[in-house]
């Protein structure tokens, strides 16, 4: 339990940094970042077999942020995990820098596995990495985080079918199911439900989890592969803007940039002192 509580603290610190960075650099997609931070922390601090000192180790587990617009969250997680100095993030968004609104390529920032930003690309690339692991007889795992809006893309379902036909059991897709996409409720834009059943119908082993319950997330993510011989889909029920009351489930924060006063209020709520 102590470990879970530590990770919850880490998630709070990262939430505060992401909110501050959005204010300082004018980077949007705050709601999408806050919705997946618990998942990122669980993966990077507990689940993934990785060594930040050896970011290209062939045996490492891979994580792909297929919903690339949550890069501001991933950048903070990678820094805190030790892939690069946290001070590097002081230059966030500056001309000539490396930190944009989406992840750069692996050759431009350690810890990144794929440059994403156009939706429906990262997850299929992850399938290629999982298949490569099988061909090389290395049993690394690949986790891809997609958004519910991203499931609009046909390529997501193309990858789902190929992964199922080849029983790629070392592959997991996590759906950050915050029920919003850029301009509306995801269910109303493109009928998604019943989402876990859709993945089951596509030949995947699917389960649901509270995407903000650190203990449950860790339990769930530990079960990859899950012994079924099938790829694993984890539908994580999340809240867009999670952790800052005035951003939670308010889709304006897909694009809005917080003011200095809002940053202060968010820090107070997150229990992060100045």
């Amino acid at each position: 339990m102590e470990r879970v509580s530590q990770l919850e603290d880490t998630a709070r610190v990262i939430r505060a940094r992401v909110v501050e960075t959005s204010h300082r650099s004018g980077t949007p997609h705050l709601g999408s970042c806050l919705s997946c931070i618990d998942i990122l922390v669980a993966l990077y601090f507990e689940i993934l077999h990785i060594d930040p000192a050896r970011p290209t180790d062939v045996a490492r587990d891979r994580f792909i942020l297929s919903k690339g617009h949550a890069a501001p969250a991933l950048f903070q997680v990678l820094a805190l995990r030790g892939y690069y100095p946290e001070a590097l993030l002081q230059n966030y968004g500056e001309d000539g820098g490396v930190f944009a609104e989406h992840p750069p390529t692996p050759s431009h920032l350690p810890g990144i596995e794929a440059a994403t930003g156009s939706l429906g690309h990262g997850f299929p690339m992850g399938l290629g990495m999982a298949l490569a692991g099988r061909i090389h007889n290395r049993h690394h795992r690949v986790f891809a985080l997609v958004s519910d809006g991203e499931c609009n893309e046909g390529s997501v379902w193309e990858a789902a079918m190929l992964a199922a036909s080849h029983k790629v059991a070392n592959l997991a897709v996590i759906i950050d199911f915050n029920r919003w996409q850029a301009t509306g409720r995801s269910e109303q834009v493109m009928a998604l439900n019943p989402l876990p059943d859709k993945w089951r119908a596509f030949g995947w082993s699917a389960r649901e989890v509270d995407g903000h319950d650190m203990g449950e997330l860790i339990k769930c993510l530990r079960q990859v592969p899950d012994g079924s011989g099938r790829p694993v889909a984890i539908v994580a029920h999340t809240v867009k803007g999670k952790g800052v009351s005035f951003m939670e489930d308010d889709n304006n924060w897909h694009y809005r940039i917080p003011s200095a006063a809002e940053v202060a209020a968010a820090r107070l709520e997150l229990g992060i002192r100045a």
Partner: protein, 311 residues
């Protein structure tokens, strides 16, 4: 050509355990020998080319050498964004093979024609673009492509094309091959037009004109050394391709030629270079990087005009 491709990829697959062959549900029986040789390294990705391209990029980023094979429009225009982002932006060494070059599948209608692929794929930074004229160039081109640390697109014909090269020519990616010497004009051919171009050269000979014939098997990088030599020597040059006149071989040469006329040429072009911009920046920062500023345009134009007037 496709049988030669199947044979050559099987040979290469036997030598290199990192070669993986991905097909978009075509080539039934064509790859039986490869499948026998390496069942775990052949993947029928189904009729889902976008996913196939991303999967190949993911494999390449994990140390494999994926080779993708399907009909040209489906492995280019269908999944262009996957090629641009997953393959080229990552500089992933994927070899993309499009069969049915140009009008090979004329009778199947425009859905199966491939008349824009060269123009589209050469517009992508990091990409090599190849179009062999026969199975000899195909085999040599495939071997060369598999040695590259960057992606390659290779458009090939279908079957039954004549063999042009009787021996083994010296093949270097980006270096044209002289197929026939001549003194009066130069015909530059790319890909499967070569038999027609040679026949045209024969006709010219009957008229008493001696035509040199060049095989530009590589469109990108363009063999500008050879072009310089050709344009220095011949009063007339003809480029022939089974491809749109927009942006293919003729288009590439015209772009290059316009630039050679500096400082006395009459056309100046301002735009972005053939690169991905990896660093972050505002639009103003990015425009400045590529010289797309009022200051640079005015200064360059004014200097150009002064040079023209002085000339």
């Amino acid at each position: 050509m496709r049988n030669a491709f199947a044979d050559e990829i099987t040979r290469q697959g036997a030598r290199d355990p990192n070669i993986v062959l991905l097909s978009g549900d075509i080539g039934n029986k064509l790859f039986d020998r490869f499948k026998q040789l390496a069942p775990d390294r052949f993947l029928n990705c189904g009729v889902a080319e976008a996913n196939m391209m991303s999967v190949a990029a993911g494999m390449a980023l994990s140390g494999l050498r994926p080779v993708i094979y399907t009909i040209a429009p489906f492995t280019t225009t269908r999944c262009f964004e996957q090629i641009r982002v997953d393959v080229c932006y990552h500089k992933a060494p994927v070899v993309i093979v499009g069969t049915g070059a140009g009008l090979s599948y004329a009778e199947l209608g425009p859905t199966h024609h491939s008349l824009e692929d060269l123009a589209l794929l050469r517009s992508l930074p990091e990409m090599n673009v190849l179009a062999p004229c026969d199975e000899v160039e195909l085999r040599l081109g495939l071997r060369a492509a598999l040695q590259q640390d960057r992606p390659t697109y290779m458009r090939i014909g279908k079957k039954g094309e004549p063999v042009i090269h009787k021996g083994l020519p010296v093949f270097r990616l980006g270096k044209a091959i002289t197929v026939r010497e001549g003194d009066d004009v130069c015909l530059i051919s790319i890909g499967n037009m070569m038999p027609v171009v040679l026949a045209a050269a024969d006709s010219l000979r009957d008229q008493g004109l001696s035509a040199r014939v060049e095989s530009f098997h590589t469109l990108k990088p363009l063999d500008t050394d050879r072009l310089t030599h050709i344009f220095d020597r011949y009063p007339l040059v003809a480029a022939v391709e089974e491809h749109s006149l927009l942006g293919g071989l003729g288009g590439s040469i015209a772009e290059w030629l316009a630039r050679q006329h500096a400082p006395t040429g009459r056309l100046m072009c301002f735009g972005t270079e053939d690169v991905f911009m990896h660093e972050v920046g505002s639009q103003d920062y990015a425009r400045n990087k590529f010289g797309l500023t009022a200051g640079n345009i005015a200064e360059t134009v004014s200097a150009g005009l002064a040079r023209l007037r002085a000339h």
